[in-house]
């Protein structure tokens, strides 16, 4: 584990206000989800999950086919599809288009994919103003931070912190009433929407049979982003494909419920190409940037490619007892929580943050709530094994490896195992002294255990001894 990871975790754990904020917010989302999938309101919830998994599996296994179909359909409706192999190609496309159209102001709606490629920062390097318009994202942008959570980016910010930010960055009088803070943001962003040259959105789903970009939201900022400016660019990972518009009957029901406990979110937009001849408003130009950026690398791994089924609902974060302790910023990339713990090593390499797949008690709550049934614990286990193999190649983690080798040898030799047990017991305080608070010797794992809790005294006689004496 890197020192930075360790430090971020410690910082989060020792900040009581932050702990409370994370716990309350995730707890509320857990509760809302629970209510929305109760059998009386959603009797077929488990069937929906099974079906969603089957559709995602089929699509990912035939992704080339659906990418081609999607491209043909977008073009048939007068839009354009741009394939980008990485972040640079994606942002270069946006930059060159902005330059050609003499654009200055860009409005953005919430998108994890554009966060992944740091699009806003890249645009700002070229003197383009790029404004996040989702309230949470806007706050995060003002604070120059990364999103804390996939669906609730500013989950960690208190109203006081938001008040300071608004005053400092916008020069408005300090306002701590949340409704009024929201209205301040609305007024600022309304001007931006009406003046923007380009709107950039993400996509929750890309529908192959219709060339449709589907966007799900509650605020209306994504509708404004995709309707007010003359140019709409949607940026999405290649894994966002689904075969048919009709499949949305399954996915929309799962997404809203899993994310926020809503049967449907406030706005669901089906966007298929630029404004048509007789339509009154909408963009004149429509582009879909399809991003690889490492996804084909994940795709090549048969066992782990299901990581690409993710619909970014955030349920695994809310239900993860580890995320609820360490929060979003402890993670070394934009994706956090259980899904982040499996995506980050696969995108950035297992040695980027080797501790990441180990930061889990493997409780399985994530897999239980995943609407597309990604087997996250199994993938974590695979990644752990990959980390250890990489360490062995690089000569790292020698002591632990040696310890496990010895352990495995002892476990194959029952007599030695028994003697080792007796030896350990003889070194430790007697059973009658109760649970142990201080170790008689200083071994790393023992010290780590005792830093948090007491240790049981070794039993005077092991089970096998008691068994023999019966």
């Amino acid at each position: 584990m890197s020192a930075a990871f360790d430090e971020k975790i410690h910082e989060t754990l020792t900040d009581p206000k932050l702990q409370l904020a994370i716990y309350k917010a995730t707890g509320r989302l857990v509760e809302e989800r629970r209510k929305s999938i109760e059998p009386d309101v959603c009797p077929d919830y488990q069937e929906l999950r099974t079906h969603a998994h089957a559709i995602k599996r089929h699509t990912i296994e035939h992704l080339d086919h659906y990418l081609e179909e999607f491209t043909r359909q977008v073009e048939a409706h007068g839009g354009q599809v741009i394939f980008s192999k990485d972040a640079e190609e994606a942002s270069d496309f946006v930059l060159s288009l902005a330059k050609e159209r003499r654009a200055h102001l860009i409005v953005k709606s919430k998108s994890m994919t554009t966060e992944e490629i740091d699009l806003s920062e890249r645009l700002e390097h070229h003197q383009l103003e790029s404004v996040e318009t989702d309230l949470g994202e806007y706050i995060i942008q003002l604070a120059h931070e990364r999103p804390y959570h996939i669906v609730a980016p500013a989950l960690h910010k208190t109203r006081e912190q938001v008040a300071d930010l608004l005053t400092e960055r916008l020069g408005v009088p300090r306002e701590t009433v949340i409704e009024k803070q929201t209205m301040i943001a609305r007024a600022v962003l309304r001007e931006k929407f009406l003046a923007a040259d380009i709107g950039i959105s993400g996509a929750n789903f890309l529908v192959a049979d219709s060339g449709t970009v589907v966007i799900v939201e509650n605020e209306g900022n994504a509708r404004l982003t995709t309707s007010a400016p003359r140019i709409h660019i949607a940026v999405a990972g290649i894994e966002k494909l689904i075969p048919r518009a009709q499949d949305l009957a399954v996915f929309l029901k799962l997404l809203g419920r899993s994310a926020t406990g809503q049967r449907l979110t406030v706005y669901t937009s089906f966007l298929s190409g630029p404004k048509r001849g007789d339509e009154i408003d909408g963009p004149d130009e429509f582009y879909v940037v399809l991003l690889d950026n490492g996804r084909t690398k994940l795709l090549a791994d048969r066992g782990k490619r299901q990581s690409l089924y993710c619909i970014r609902c955030g349920a695994c974060l809310n239900h993860c007892p580890v995320y609820r302790k360490i929060g979003g910023h402890s993670f070394p990339w934009v994706y956090s929580g259980p899904i982040g713990a499996i995506l980050i090593p696969q995108f950035l390499g297992v040695r980027h943050e080797p501790g990441l797949p180990f930061a889990s008690s493997l409780c399985g709550a994530c897999a239980e709530v995943c609407p597309v049934k990604i087997d996250i614990p199994r993938i974590l286990l695979e990644l752990r094994s990959e980390v250890k193999k990489a360490e062995a190649r690089e000569g790292a983690g020698r002591l632990e490896r040696l310890a496990f080798r010895i352990w495995a040898w002892v476990m194959r030799h029952p007599r030695i195992y028994e003697m080792a047990g007796m030896a350990a017991a003889s070194l430790a305080p007697s059973e009658s002294a109760g649970w142990v608070r201080h170790a008689p010797f200083n071994v790393g794992p023992l010290r780590a255990w005792l830093s948090q809790r007491d240790l049981p005294p070794p039993a005077a006689k092991s089970f096998r001894q008691l068994w023999r004496e019966r």
Binding site: M1, I9, H10, L13, P321, V322, K325, G355, P357, F358, A359, S360, S361, L362, C363, G364, A365, A367, E368, R378, L381, R384, S385, E386, V387, K388, R401, F404, R405, W407, A408, W409, V410, M411, R412, P414, G421, A424, A425, G434, W435, G444, P445, A448, W449, S451, Q452, R453, D454, L455, P456, P458, A459, K461, S462, F463, R464, Q465, L466, W467
Partner: protein
């Protein structure tokens, strides 16, 4: 003739909580089973498997396959170890067809203790008596990998004198997680304390679970916090009278 049951007591119970093993034997014998303890047994290999050392896990798992080769039923007082044998042996023997076949043959023979009582012994009332208010902690692997939820509660409901009070976060992890508990000690400790808060709110004097490792984590944290709440394995509860 009485059915023969092979006990895999697990390394944690063998070394740290032998009374749990004795309690399992007592309950099974009371129900008329003949208990066999293959003395060559050690561990299922899970600690290595969960830490990413698959080769080491395989070595230990092969030993397990040998030791329990002749078993009719294998009863395990742990959801986690049961799941390792029933589900994850498959993951590590992918390239060893013969061992994979042997591991798969175990899938239908290996039973977590409470499941064995309900499904094979068909016993919900084992004649236990314990005057305590208890709360039940769903250990994660029993709950989510073996889908054990009602069984232990039904067994507890038949214990005379016992009152079961559900805690608000019964299904939330205690934070043990094997080597996670020492690799991320501070997070693990925090999880245990959160869990303890919900245990305390029930007013129960005892926490019951199926896994001694979860109970070690919880008892360790309870003891550190100076709380007068004890932990008991389900087998110990069922052996009481």
């Amino acid at each position: 003739m009485a059915a023969r049951v092979s006990l895999f007591v697990t390394c944690v119970v063998d070394q740290l909580f032998p009374k749990v093993g004795m309690a399992v034997v007592q309950v099974l014998e009371r129900l008329g089973f003949r208990v066999d303890f293959p003395e060559q047994q050690t561990c299922c290999g899970q600690p290595a498997f969960n830490t990413g050392y698959r080769e080491e896990a395989r070595q230990v798992a092969r030993h397990f396959l040998d030791v329990f080769a002749g078993a009719d039923y294998i009863v395990v007082p742990s959801g986690s170890c049961t799941s390792m044998i029933a589900h994850h042996f498959e993951d590590i023997f992918g390239k060893e067809p013969e061992n994979l076949r042997r591991a798969r043959a175990f899938e239908s023979k290996v039973y977590e203790f409470s499941r064995f009582l309900i499904e094979v012994a068909k016993a919900e009332d084992v004649g236990a008596r314990l005057h305590e208010v208890v709360t039940y902690h769903d250990s994660c692997h029993a709950l989510r990998e073996l889908h054990i939820k009602d069984g232990p509660r039904r067994l507890l409901a038949h214990v005379r004198g016992l009152e079961l009070r559900e805690m608000d976060a019964a299904e939330e992890c205690c934070g043990f997680g094997g080597t996670f508990s020492v690799k991320f000690a501070e997070v693990s400790g925090g999880m245990a304390r959160t869990k303890i808060d919900s245990i305390v709110r029930t007013g129960a004097s005892t926490v019951v679970s199926l896994d001694s490792s979860c109970l070690m984590q919880l008892q360790g944290a309870l003891s550190r916090a100076g709380l007068p709440i004890r932990t008991m394995h389900l087998a110990e509860v069922l052996a009481s009278h």
